[in-house]
């Protein structure tokens, strides 16, 4: 993985020193809150309901064991012994004290981490496919691209005060695990059909929140070497023409929508044509230097199927189920990409204790070439595990309560922190996730239902990606109580779609019943091994709406 060079190191250390001074000046009264707020936000410090919150960037979700151990230490020493992995592959601490933040930033810098680009109207921490570099169907590892964008965008003077925040995601695979169509810019590495050269498909104007939009493709095949100049052209069009008069209309998706994808593309291409590409695009040597950090580890030569694994599966059904649900095919024979579920039944999705972080860090060091990933679905990945080691890993995870076999299933719920922590939330999310998990706790039943993504947001800003959940749940306030709006048919993959609202809002207590009825319709209607989302696509929302109305009628 990427290691800081002297410039990265100096940049991060300087930022720690600057913020330390800013905190001192805030505490001695030299800076007012109005002056200080934009400064703290540039360093990931938010004020939530009960305390400050510190959001730590995990670039493209890649971590090593030393970094995860440092996060565990920070959680223990300066927080309440746990952290929350987010839908942007970051980590949030919920209880840091402002006076401690400079020290925490110093500890982060010690392990090449920081909180830059986790807030504010800048290009945010770039996200990527959590199976980057290991997915079998991958064309190219997206992380060198993500790292290049990180370096280009960090403190970029022209793009540090954009009309609004700006999120970029990259995938190098056919299957989209990075929700690129719901980002301001989504990049997909693909091969040109004629030249077979690796290019980018560039989508712009995706996003969730108040006005959900699926990104529009503005370039089918952008040569790799032109990436930064093309991004710069997009950013310039947005920076000049994006609306600064209305916060709710300031994202690039609104600009793309208002002038149309065709006109937006025309303006970008015009800007791109007049930019001096060679002066903007990265030096090929630098690109190669970055890419070298992401070279695959030295895999052992192993048989494609491990006999040790097969023997353990044959004698231990619980282990066999976990392997079936939580592992993904790996490029290297005899290896697998293992997802560690942070969704044990009844826990806050994405929360991990310091002890759990240390355990996973130990496992990564011993069994996964010291590498870890954070997924946007709020789980962790050990990307390079020998199949024959799975049983030992499973046993150790089990001792820490981390052996849930539910990846991609109904209890693998994405949930924002909601009104249990967040100052922007209009309703709680976590207890809704917990109630649904309890309802569907039976593992056999979860597998019977198959892949089903429930995503919950506690406000319209949609950090919980509810619009692209197969079942989406949005918490709002209605007449002084929490009310939950259910959407159906959203899709976060390469077939990205925004879900449709099923009916009137429900009380918190009614939500598990509603989910249950939706699932019952699916189980009745599905043909053979048809998945939940495929069934919705085939039969439409009608039967689900009818079942949903029974819930609202029963409640009336």
């Amino acid at each position: 993985m990427y290691r800081y060079d002297e410039f990265d190191e100096r940049f991060v250390r300087e930022r720690v020193a600057q913020f330390t001074d800013q905190v001192t000046r805030r505490l001695d009264g030299s800076l007012t809150e109005d002056e200080f707020k934009p400064l703290r936000l540039k360093n990931g410090v938010y004020l939530q309901l009960h305390a400050y919150m510190l959001r730590i960037a995990i670039p493209y979700g890649t971590l090593n064991s030393r970094q995860l151990r440092q996060l565990a230490l920070i959680g223990e020493k300066y927080d309440r012994g746990y952290g929350h992995f987010t839908t942007r592959q970051n980590l949030q601490f919920n209880w840091p004290k402002l006076r401690d933040v400079p020290e925490i930033l110093g500890l982060l810098a010690d392990v090449e981490m920081h909180c830059i680009q986790t807030s504010g109207n800048c290009i945010r921490n770039v996200t990527a496919d959590h199976f980057a570099g290991v997915a079998q169907e991958e064309i190219e590892d997206p992380r060198p691209t993500a790292e290049l964008i990180r370096q280009w965008s960090s403190a970029h003077p022209e793009f540090s005060y954009l009309p609004r925040k700006f999120k970029i995601a990259v995938t190098g695979a056919e299957a989209d695990r990075a929700v690129i169509k719901a980002h301001d810019i989504g990049l997909r590495l693909r091969r040109h059909p004629d030249t077979h050269e690796t290019c980018y498909e560039v989508s712009v104007g995706g996003g969730l929140g108040r006005t959900p939009m699926i990104g529009k493709v503005v370039r089918d095949y952008l040569p790799k070497k032109d990436l930064l100049a093309y991004l710069e052209a997009i950013m310039r069009v947005y920076n000049l023409e994006g609306r600064r008069d209305n916060k709710y209309k300031a994202r690039v998706k609104i600009l793309v929508h208002e002038i149309g994808a065709e006109e937006f593309t025309r303006r970008v291409e015009a800007e791109f044509a007049q930019l001096d590409g060679p002066s903007i695009n990265a030096d090929p040597e630098e690109v190669a230097r970055i890419a070298a950090y992401f070279a695959p580890p030295r895999y052992e030569t192993l048989p494609a199927i491990s006999n040790t694994l097969e023997a353990a599966r044959a004698t231990n059904p619980a282990f066999a189920r976990w392997v079936e649900v939580n592992t993904a095919p790996h490029k290297a024979p005899g290896y697998t990409a293992l997802t560690v579920s942070l969704k044990p039944i009844g826990q806050a999705p994405g929360d991990a204790t310091s002890a759990q972080m240390r355990l996973v860090a130990d496992l990564a060091e011993r069994y996964s070439f010291d590498e870890l990933r954070v997924t946007h679905a709020q789980n962790l990945v050990l990307p390079h595990v020998r199949q024959r080691d799975l049983f030992a890993i499973w046993q150790k995870l089990g001792e820490a309560g981390l052996a849930s076999a539910n990846i991609g299933l109904v209890t693998d719920i994405i949930s924002c922190p909601g009104l249990d922590y967040c100052a922007l939330a209009t309703a709680r999310s976590i207890p809704i996730a917990q109630a649904i998990q309890q309802r569907f706790a039976d593992e056999a039943r979860q597998r019977e239902i198959g892949p089903l993504g429930i995503k919950i947001s506690g406000c319209i800003n949609a950090c919980g990606h509810h619009h692209v959940g197969h079942i989406g749940i949005l918490g709002l306030e209605k007449r002084g109580i929490e009310s939950y709006q259910i959407t159906l048919g959203g899709d976060a993959t390469e077939n990205a779609a925004i879900g449709e609202i099923l009916g009137p809002g429900l009380t918190a207590e009614e939500v598990p019943d509603a989910v249950e009825r939706i699932v019952a319709v699916y189980l009745t209607e599905r043909s053979e091994a048809e998945s939940f989302i495929d069934t919705i696509r085939r039969i439409g929302l009608g039967p689900f709406k009818a079942a949903f109305q029974e819930v609202t009628r029963a409640a009336a």
Partner: protein, 118 residues
């Protein structure tokens, strides 16, 4: 023409976050009757009339500019068993802590001195 800032219905209490720690704090009257901050919502001073609310607002303004607290605002309350309880669920959570973690926050007694039982 200047219009008075819209105020929440009374009775109301004043809450804020401590600048240094971020903890939720409540305005209370100390032994001498002067206003001070407490981390315990129970002794929060309840403003029942405009004069009392104005006093809380003046305290909020002074403490914000004095860099003691951030995000100070009045919250309308009901009196339940003699203690003020915010009417809105959002502010109620601020007096308690995360509902999924009863072991954390004010609901777990954090920052609240044990009251003698009698």
């Amino acid at each position: 023409m200047a219009t008075a800032a819209k105020r929440v219905p009374l009775p109301a209490i004043l809450l804020a976050n401590d600048l240094l720690d971020g903890d939720v704090v409540f305005a209370t009257a100390d032994g001498t009757g002067a206003l001070a901050w407490t981390r315990d919502p129970a002794p929060a001073l309840v403003a029942n009339d405009d004069a009392a609310a104005e006093k809380l607002e003046a305290f909020a303004a002074a403490e914000l500019s004095g860099n003691k607290v951030v995000d100070a605002y009045l919250v309308d309350v009901a009196i339940e068993s003699g203690s003020p309880v915010p009417r809105h669920f959002r502010e109620r959570f601020k007096t308690l802590g995360p509902s999924n973690r009863p072991d954390l926050g004010k609901q777990a007694g954090e920052g609240i001195a044990a009251t003698p039982k009698g």
